[in-house]
């Protein structure tokens, strides 16, 4: 049992480290380090431009999309090399958040289902950050139950005509392309009438509207489709086989390991180390310490669970299902941590302006963003179902709509 690299891993790490030291945009390092919960803002620089510039630089030197084949703009690296790269890239990796969906989900789906010519045309600019991709699955009527989606695709000659609405699309407003899951046959069971496409987000009839979230910020969008035309050549997989295609996409979402999830614990520990309460430092208070200890072991448990997964990768194995606990644990933990950090501040905890609030309002922002972390990318309840069914082998939920034609499934609860 050890934390040491193999000689090959050490050599790869040294090479990555040296390249990053010589090339990373150090002017952003401090701001990137401070960005604790995803939201990166750079003073005096456009984040999109900064991100694209860093990605371009990486791509030119062969450090983009490490796990992709070289002919599509990647490096052909092993999974463990990808993890080592992420460790070495550290805070600079946060510049790449707008590429995560394209690189992690759209790219692999294209790789599995697009034609060779299309792959050579679309994947290298995706890898280099020149083009950004988004994923258009969720709908107002289909979130956890994504197969309940209603956006229609109807064949007209060699084209498909799309009408409907998507929601929760990250980055749609700056995306160049998207992969789109549609309903092509509403007369069969819901999973059996879906078809996947990719499309140019600048196509006529595509309208992107930002969603104002409960937190007040806008990270996501609604995307409306009105008579949008997509050539049949941009279909991914067979007609009505879109569900299986989407499983490839989602499987890739869950394969990303080693990036580390935010729990809010390091921030809370620092805060308690510095916060003066009526009778002394917060961290010297027994009640505070008990709370901290409970979160400390969750944070370390997640960290070492991820180390175990990385070890499996290092041995050339696929990591086990234990890695699926990360999002479930971290999501509710960050909410609890933020709630407690405000509790420690008393009435002043309600203040959220950076000039008035403790640590510039970090925990207030965390609290208001946290409900989203428990919903996006699979709700807590879906994650528990996944663990129960795929890890523990418990029966799937009973699905009353499984064998019902989609257009006969009730659409309202209380009529």
């Amino acid at each position: 049992m050890n934390f040491d690299d193999t000689p090959q891993e050490a050599a790869f790490r040294a090479e990555a480290k040296a390249w990053i030291a010589a090339n990373a945009p150090k002017q952003y390092e401090e701001e990137l380090r401070k960005a604790s919960l995803g939201r990166v803002a750079l003073k005096g620089a456009n984040i999109l431009e900064a991100a694209k510039a860093w990605q371009r630089k990486k791509a030119d030197a062969g450090w983009a999309c490490l796990h992709w084949p070289k002919e599509y703009g990647g490096r052909g690296s092993s999974p463990i090399e990808r993890v080592i790269w992420q460790q070495e890239e550290g805070p600079f990796g946060r510049l790449s958040s707008m590429f995560i969906i394209g690189h992690g989900m759209c790219g692999p789906t294209m790789m599995a289902f697009a034609g060779e010519e299309q792959k050579r045309k679309y994947l290298p600019p995706l890898a280099s950050g020149e083009k950004i991709w988004c994923q258009l699955f969720s709908e107002p009527a289909g979130g956890s139950d994504v197969a309940g989606l209603r956006t229609r695709a109807e064949k007209q000659g060699d084209e498909w005509v799309i009408n409907g609405q998507k929601i929760w699309t990250s980055g749609a407003h700056y995306s160049d392309y998207g992969i789109l899951l549609t309903r092509t046959d509403p007369t069969v069971a819901k999973h059996k009438g879906l078809t996947m496409f990719f499309l140019d987000m600048k196509s006529p009839g595509v309208e992107v509207r930002p969603i104002k979230q409960a937190s007040g910020a806008s990270d996501f969008n609604e995307v409306y489709f009105t008579d949008v035309r997509i050539p049949d050549s941009q279909r991914l997989g067979n007609v009505n086989d879109g569900w299986n295609v989407s499983l490839t996409t989602l499987m890739n979402e869950r394969m990303s390991i080693g990036a580390g999830v935010s729990t809010g614990f390091p921030e809370l520990f620092d805060f308690c180390n510095n916060l003066m309460l009526e009778d002394g430092l917060a961290i010297e208070n027994r009640a505070v310490r008990a709370k901290l200890a409970n979160w400390a072991v969750k944070a370390s448990g997640l960290k070492y669970t991820s180390m175990r997964a990385i070890s499996a990768l290092s041995r050339g194995e696929r990591p086990g299902p234990e890695n699926s606990i990360g999002k479930l644990v971290a999501g509710s933990m960050i909410q609890d941590v933020a709630t407690y950090a405000l509790d420690l501040q008393g009435a002043a905890g309600a203040l959220s302006g950076p000039e008035d609030a403790e640590v510039a309002g970090k925990f207030q922002a965390m609290l208001l963003r946290a409900p989203g972390t428990r919903v996006e990318g699979g709700t807590d309840e879906i994650m528990r179902n996944i663990i129960a069914e795929r890890v523990l082998g418990l029966p799937g939920d009973i699905r009353v709509d499984k064998d019902v034609p989609f257009n006969k499934i009730p659409t309202k609860g209380r009529a």
Partner: protein, 375 residues
């Protein structure tokens, strides 16, 4: 990176599991539960023959000289099987104290007997309610004899010797505390068995009346040694707890698959599925914390104090969580004497206290993290 046990260590775990499934089925645990024997003597002998008692004891002292990672995998299996033997008292506490502070002669006297199953040892630390603290120790050592009462002492009624923490000074500092070895079969020792929540493991009160005692380590250095012993035992016990948690989770899962209510397996109801998923999460977090503890223990790393506290807290929570919800999944049957669920519930809750309770270790963890942060 290989943050995992080696193939040889995993093989040893498989051997231990096979041995314990044959030699320590629930029926054997129930012999002790029902008060028919104070511990499973045949199993104790068998563990000695398998080389498990002395796995981390150096060969020169009669052990296998393997190491602590090997001991961790065996500990996990002992917890899983609820082995009703004084393994933790003898191997994690008494043997570790001897390895850390014992003279060559003391090691020669006791360690080979531990490895061969001929001596049971324990640690006599607590004196009534409260957690490990130098201030709580009132038993005195003067002129080579001990006076006072230790209670509770795990496996005290079956132990041959005890490592005893006693007061040799009155300055109010840690240096007031020294460790001694006491032959519990000798004069001046009165032992009384005490009923406790885990009926498969004994607890006792030991009264010393001018009992002859031999110093273990230097006078005034007892507390430092004790802290090390507790940290090391915390990691090893955490493996037992993780083994117990995993087994309780499996029992709940199996029952949820087999039990039909409202026309379907109860494991198809989300309320039950999600309860089991949460048990899996606790057990997984605990296992990962334990692996880090095992790494720190086996390499004697400076991170051991922090890693041990994290493993202890996480594994204690996981075992308690899995044991109580295993009963909940079983419903009424889980609350019968006949079903094994309560044996895990009893063990989980007794283990949560034996080395100092959760609140003690929570406090210790934050202290240790602060120290590391300041350094």
């Amino acid at each position: 990176m290989n943050f995992d046990f080696s193939d040889e260590q995993k093989q040893m775990r498989d051997e231990a599991r096979k041995f314990l499934s044959e030699q320590c089925p629930p029926k054997a645990v129930r012999e002790v539960l029902d008060g028919k024997a104070p511990y499973d003597k045949a199993l104790w002998k068998g563990l000695a023959e398998m080389g498990f008692l002395g796995v981390a004891i150096p060969e020169q002292f009669g052990g296998a000289g393997a190491g602590h990672l090997e001991l961790c995998v065996i500990a996990e299996e002992m917890g899983r099987a609820l082995a009703p033997v004084p393994f933790s008292s003898t191997v994690y506490l008494a043997a570790e104290a001897l390895l850390i502070a014992g003279s060559d002669a003391q090691k020669q006297k006791w360690l080979p007997k531990i490895a061969s199953g001929d001596a049971i040892g324990t640690l006599a630390l607590f004196e009534g309610h409260g957690n490990p603290s130098p201030k709580a120790i009132k038993v005195t050592a003067n002129g080579g004899v001990l006076n006072g009462v230790k209670k509770p002492v795990a496996d005290g009624a079956i132990a041959d010797f005890a490592v005893v923490a006693a007061r040799t000074g009155s300055s109010g500092r840690e240096s007031d505390i020294s460790l001694f070895i006491v032959d519990l079969k000798a004069g001046g020792v009165e032992i009384k068995s005490l009923t406790n929540i885990d009926l498969t493991r004994g607890q006792a009160a030991i009264t010393f009346k001018d009992a002859k005692a031999e110093p273990l380590g230097a006078t005034g250095e007892g507390w430092g040694v004790l802290t090390q012993v507790l940290d090391r035992a915390a990691v090893l016990m955490a493996f037992e707890q993780v083994g117990g948690a995993d087994r309780a989770l499996e029992m709940g899962r199996d029952y949820a698959l087999d039990r039909i209510a409202f026309g379907r397996p109860i494991g198809s109801f989300q309320a039950v599925k999600h309860m089991l998923a949460d048990m899996y999460v606790s057990a997984t977090l605990a296992r990962s914390n334990c692996y880090y503890g095992a790494w720190a223990l086996s390499t004697n790393a400076g991170e051991l104090p922090e890693a041990a506290a994290a493993a202890r807290i996480s594994a204690t929570q996981a075992f308690q969580h899995c044991a109580k919800n295993n009963i909940q999944v079983h419903g009424g049957m889980g609350f019968t004497w006949e079903f094994d669920c309560h044996m895990y519930y009893r063990r989980a809750n007794a283990m949560a206290l034996g080395l100092g309770s959760l609140s003690y270790w929570e406090d210790a963890l934050i202290d240790r993290m602060r120290k590391k942060n300041a350094a």
